[in-house]
Amino acid sequence: MTMHRLSSLALALGLAVFPVAALAGIPEPVTPPHQTWSFEGPFGQFDQKSLQRGFMVYDRVCSTCHGMKTLTYNDLRGIGMSEQAVLELAHSKMLAGPPDASGQPTMRAAQPDDHFRSPFPSDEAAAAMMGGVAPPDQSRLAVIQPHGADWLYAFLTGYRMPPPADAPVVPGKFYNDWVDGHLIGMPPPLMNGIIQYPDGTPATVEQQARDVTTFLVWASDPHRNARHRIGMWTVLYLVALLALAIAWKKKIWKRVKAQ
């Protein structure tokens, strides 16, 4: 999350400050450098083009190992995908269907209201196949991870190949500046030109990292655009209403003073 947790308000209430979540399993090294994001701050809005590019990166790269199981294909209407595009995308994914007449497992094409296909049949299977640790689900990753977007971007662009000379070399582990102990089992996911963006944006590692980070933040807070838009109108309305209410109250209370 790029939004700062305003501890000042809690203090103003005379009460305690909230913690930066320290979630088991997610390390918190030093603060990653701050990036400028269109979606940060109280008026921030997601850039739909970036969201769509980011989904491409997620779909082609991340989703081979990471699930995002609380989202449905229909939710992608929120990043500006058309109904037809969502339908085609869903139909291209195969899910486990009901057993057939002889009890054999079957496969079926996904429907728009199906949840995203998980890359592994279960967390246990994922852990077994991925060297003991299941890749975390990405539905709310950007909100759970301390420093959210900034950390995701720093992490995705933080692999060093070859690793620094003084770094320990462990087979099957990769060097990254932004994880605890600098070693991680996840190989560098992004490479220059690994995908081609249909809108012609050069698919550099940095660009892909920016786009997929934007998509992950959207996935963890899909209604942010509407929330900020509705919020702005609500606040403006309440301010106008407050002005009227204060005027009315003053008019009424004048009688008391005149008494």
Partner: protein, 413 residues
């Protein structure tokens, strides 16, 4: 109000009118009762902005019920389904994110408003005769709202829900003799799962409506005893009072809109200020989070719980910190209500607020290191204020002189 001027002159008005309203009113006096209790009802003329919180709390309670009913329609109280059903409310249910945001922000601001309301009662001595029942029903509401909030926080069944429930059920299990049985009654089985969730879902829903019933008693009590006021002296003549409408309806409206503004700013722009991110990780009995901590509104009690070396002792301290408030009308025997005229009590009360905040900070830091000492001192002060300072001050304190009447104090006499 018990002032003789305003008694028995409104039912006559309603009886004179013809038509359906009058017909109903002769059989069930809802029209005239509303008129006498919410239109012509007389309140002290000097109520300040702290008296807005009664109306604010009523509004938040109604909002919680309205949003809660629709959330309940889409919630699944099972170990496997709870987290996912809340995610589905947030993501796929049309307008669900807004319902849930209102309910979450509402819960936080409900407790915040309740603490301010309680502080106002302490500061202006609203617990003293003839308002003891008003005070006791209010405290009962505090306890019920806290229980409802705790049960509600379990429902999303994230990591903090699960491990919060774990801490509390184990604390209950530390009660001598009956602890194990009590813990089992709470959890319903050997582990926190389907039975526990289902039970707390029903309790959360049930408690919300019991709160409405007790609010009814609380409101009846205030309409019998009348509102206290910043001077803490009873209105003597009509000049000391104003009618509820239009004076306090317009004042409450301003207070409600300001509150709605704060509510909206938090809900729309800074939602993460009030939400614990790790509760967006599904409950996992195999992974204890590094930092288990309750919502901010429970932190002072969590501080007491942790600053006492014995688990049961901590539980007694935390429960006792609320229980002592029930005895307040009989601990503080001073005839002067408002702290404005009680210099010792006033200073002591600000100390109490500081102790409450320090306890919260102690709870946040798990009463580790220096926080253990701070939390213990703050806890001692908290109990010392009620059990030693207040009873002594009511006898020895040199109070400031009270004004002759409310209107005299405002210079209108």
């Amino acid at each position: 109000m018990t002032t003789p001027e305003n008694m028995g002159n409104h039912s006559a008005d309603a009886a004179e009118t013809e038509g359906l309203a009058a017909w109903i009113d002769r059989r069930l006096p809802v029209v005239s009762a509303f008129r006498s209790e919410y239109v012509d009802f007389r309140l002290p003329r000097n109520l300040n902005w702290l008296w807005n919180f009664g109306a604010i709390l009523t509004a938040v309670l109604l909002l919680m019920l309205a949003t809660g009913i629709f959330l309940a329609m889409n919630y699944t109280p099972t170990n496997a389904g709870a987290f996912l059903s809340v995610e589905a409310i947030d993501r796929q249910l049309s307008g669900g994110w807004l319902l849930r945001a209102m309910h979450m922000t509402g819960a936080n601001l409900f407790l915040a408003a309740l603490y301010i309301h309680l502080f106002r009662g302490l500061y202006y001595g609203s617990y003293k005769a003839p308002r003891e029942i008003l005070w006791l029903t209010g405290l009962l509401l505090l306890v019920m709202v806290m229980a409802t909030a705790f049960a509600g926080y379990m429902l999303p069944w994230g990591q903090m829900s699960y491990w919060g429930a774990d801490v509390i059920t184990k604390a209950v299990g530390a009660v001598p003799l009956i602890g194990t049985a009590l813990e089992h009654v709470m959890t319903g089985s050997d582990h926190l799962g389907d039975v526990f969730l289902h039970r707390f879902f029903v309790l959360h829903f049930l408690m919300a409506f019991l709160v409405v019933a007790v609010v009814g008693l609380h409101v009846v009590a205030i309409h019998v005893s009348g509102s206290n006021n910043p001077l803490g002296i009873e209105p003597k003549t009509k000049k000391d009072t104003l009618t509820f409408h239009p004076y306090y309806t317009t004042k409450d409206l301003v207070g409600l809109i300001i509150f709605a503004l704060i509510f909206s700013l938090l809900m729309f722009f800074w939602p993460n200020l009030l939400a614990e991110p790790s509760n967006y990780t599904p409950a996992d009995p195999m992974h204890t989070p590094a930092d288990i901590e309750p919502e901010w509104y429970f932190l002072p009690f969590y501080g007491l719980l942790q600053s006492v070396p014995s688990k049961f002792g901590g539980l007694v301290a935390a429960a006792g910190s609320i229980a002592v408030l029930f005895f307040l009308p009989w601990l503080d025997r001073s005839p002067i209500r408002s702290a404005r005229f009680r210099p010792v009590c006033r200073a002591g009360l600000f100390g109490l607020v500081i102790a409450f905040v320090l306890l919260a900070l102690g709870g946040k830091h798990h009463a580790e290191g220096v926080w253990m000492l701070i939390a213990r001192l703050a806890g001692l002060y908290y109990f010392g204020y009620f059990l030693v300072l207040l009873p002594l001050a009511s006898r020895r304190e040199k109070t400031r002189p009270l004004p002759a009447s409310i209107s005299a104090a405002q210079g209108d006499a």
